[in-house]
């Protein structure tokens, strides 16, 4: 059946299990399910996105239902149940960032990347998303790149250069 975790590449599943083991140590032995967020994050990193198969794998290892894993995967914005572009550029457009020019910056970037309403460039290179406050209001405007790197005090020039430089 499609989306079955047993169809995931065996070597990656083994790697998932190796990396999950120390994470499980953080929670009481009878509370494995608590590791759902870290497990989904790990699965997403290894397999590309939190597909139904990844959700199933997490559920299996944590001894809970696939429905529970899906519920979690769809609740949090940092879990992606569909693939994104190679890079995820998330621009904060909450108040402090907009007071520092974020809205105009996003509009220009959309134009530059040829993005309409949709979020991903035709070549699959970049997914652009507007996000809520990133906790960088004092150094606004802020961008989160690939959910790893916070880039602050962004200017239109800095943003253009960043986006051009992404492979």
């Amino acid at each position: 059946m499609p989306g079955d975790w047993k169809d995931l590449p065996k070597d990656l599943v083994a790697r998932f299990d190796t990396l999950l083991a120390p994470v499980l140590q953080r929670y009481p032995p009878d509370r494995k399910e608590a590791a759902m967020l870290p497990a989904l994050r790990l699965g997403q990193e290894l397999f590309g996105y939190a597909s139904p198969a990844v959700q199933g794998l997490c559920a299996d290892r944590l001894g809970t239902s696939a429905a529970r894993a899906e519920e979690v995967a769809t609740f949090y914005v940092m879990f992606h149940t569909h693939p994104n572009g190679r890079h995820l550029v998330e621009v904060c457009t909450n108040v402090s960032c907009c007071l520092a020019g974020a809205e105009r910056m996003v509009r220009d970037l959309r134009k530059r990347l040829g993005l309409g309403e949709g979020g991903t460039t035709a070549d699959g290179r970049i997914t652009l998303r507007e996000v809520e406050c990133l906790g960088s209001c004092g150094t606004a405007p802020a961008i989160l790149l690939d959910e790893k790197e916070m880039i602050e005090r962004v200017t239109p020039e800095k943003l253009a250069k960043l986006v051009e430089g992404l492979p």
Binding site: R31, A34, V95, L99, G101, C137, R153
Partner: protein
């Protein structure tokens, strides 16, 4: 009392301030050592005497919260709230990046005082770098025998502290949603009572405190609760981190006494507006706190004083807007945030927040009709107070205050069938300035 006492920011910007060696060289963990020689109840008494109040938003008395734990139920847990997602708030991340051991020491003292052996730091998913600093500091503390099997290497007391990363959901900053999320579920707030101190994580008694709240604890133990209380006024002790953003010359983090004057903070410390234009409005404590007009900001930021002025100092996030900004546009954006972040459990919040967003946008776009501003108010009045968690109130308060204080702006949009600011709705000073946190680890 001097305005210059630094508790939380004293070591920021120092080379390697985040390392154990640096923290120790500055006398770090001496407070934990002192605490271990005290009866646990005496530590709680010092925190009570300090008038420390929660820095996460509600300003609840920390010492009193700690006494709500039922006497004989074990295990108990501590949850440290590092979710920091309220728009305008950006302080806990700097504590974590610059002085993680101060936080760890505060956690260790709290756990010893409360007989807690397992603590989790719930940090928002968008802070991977800060989470890594925390992991590093915890590993150092573990390796040095400060936490682990024997607290501070000697006490017959085991303590484990773990980092738990969120995954992008504002609601998980709400204490009961945070615990659900920590249990591996979606962040649905729980009905209260029972309060977390009685039924919390995994159904056990749980204390939940903000990062900044706990980071004050070592200083309190070292210097005594009375000294901390003396830095503040009335029922609020100590200093606070105020994060100022928006149209000011020098945005950033300012550590000031809890009762510091808002106008002074903006005009003197932050240098006033970047544009030199008059201040039109200030959101004083994160985006859910009721807005103040520019002529209302000569107030103390102390929890009770600012409450008397009709608003709150909440999370300490101050957002400043000069007179070039369209207030309807700002409210639209704030309303969008709460509509996005509603967890959807209660009907008034799930249905009401998108309605408010849509009506704000309609007015902003020039399509409003007379009576729409009152309709907006009416919607807000039917959400706040009728929901499971305080997000309902958080969504209502901005609407109620913006409409009341900037009614003319709303009516002008409706009368002119357009936004009077047009393309420049976000104002003129759209540049990024140098923040005073420039030199710190971020």
């Amino acid at each position: 009392m001097s305005d210059d006492v630094k508790i939380l920011t004293a070591r920021w910007g120092k080379k390697d301030s985040h390392t154990l060696a640096s923290y120790r060289a500055d006398g770090g963990y001496a407070a934990l050592e002192k605490a271990l020689s005290m009866p646990p109840a005496a530590i709680v008494d010092e925190v009570k005497a300090s008038n420390l109040r929660g820095r996460g938003g509600a300003g609840f008395a920390t010492g009193m919260k700690w006494t709500f734990l039922p006497k004989d139920v074990r295990p108990r847990y501590l949850c440290v709230n590092a979710d920091e997602s309220e728009p305008g708030t950006f302080k806990d991340r700097y504590i974590i990046a610059n002085d993680p051991h101060m936080l760890i020491e505060g956690i260790a003292i709290a756990c010893f005082a409360l007989d807690i052996h397992l603590a989790y730091i719930y940090i928002r998913g968008e802070f991977p770098r800060q989470a890594a600093v925390l992991e590093g500091a915890l590993a150092e503390a573990r390796a040095a025998g400060i936490i682990g099997k024997r607290l501070y290497g000697k006490a017959d007391f085991d303590l484990e502290i773990h980092v738990h990363r969120g995954a992008g959901a504002y609601i998980c900053g709400e204490e009961s949603a945070l615990m659900e999320s920590l249990e591996g579920k979606k962040g649905y707030p729980r009905l209260k009572p029972p309060f977390p101190a009685v039924v919390g994580l995994w159904g056990k008694p749980t204390i939940i405190n903000n990062v900044e709240t706990l980071a004050n604890v070592p200083w309190i133990v070292k210097n005594g609760g009375a000294a901390f209380a003396a830095l503040g006024t009335g029922k609020s002790g100590g200093t606070r981190l105020f994060g100022v953003s928006g149209n000011v010359k020098r945005p950033g983090i300012y550590e000031k006494p809890v009762h510091y004057n808002l106008k002074k903070l903006i005009m003197e410390d932050c240098g006033g507006t970047a544009s030199g234009r008059p201040i039109q409005a200030v959101i004083p404590g994160g985006s859910s706190s009721p807005v103040l007009r520019g002529d209302e900001i000569d107030v103390s930021l102390e929890f009770d004083a600012i409450k008397a002025a009709g608003t709150m100092s909440g999370s300490g996030g101050v957002i400043v807007m000069d007179d070039s900004v369209c207030m309807v546009r700002v409210l639209s954006r704030v309303a969008k945030f709460y509509a996005e972040e509603s967890c959807g459990q209660c009907t008034p919040c799930r249905e009401g927040t998108p309605w408010m967003e849509a009506l704000c946008e309609k007015i902003e776009g020039g399509h409003g009709v007379p009576g729409d501003a009152d309709k907006l108010l009416d919607m807000a009045n039917h959400i706040g107070g009728f929901t499971i968690c305080a997000l309902g109130d958080a969504a209502s308060m901005p609407v109620q205050s913006f409409v009341k204080k900037f009614k003319a702006d709303f009516e002008r949009h409706i009368a002119e069938h357009r936004c009077p600011h047009g393309e420049a709705a976000w104002g003129v000073s759209q540049d990024s300035r140098d923040a005073v946190i420039g030199g710190m680890r971020s």
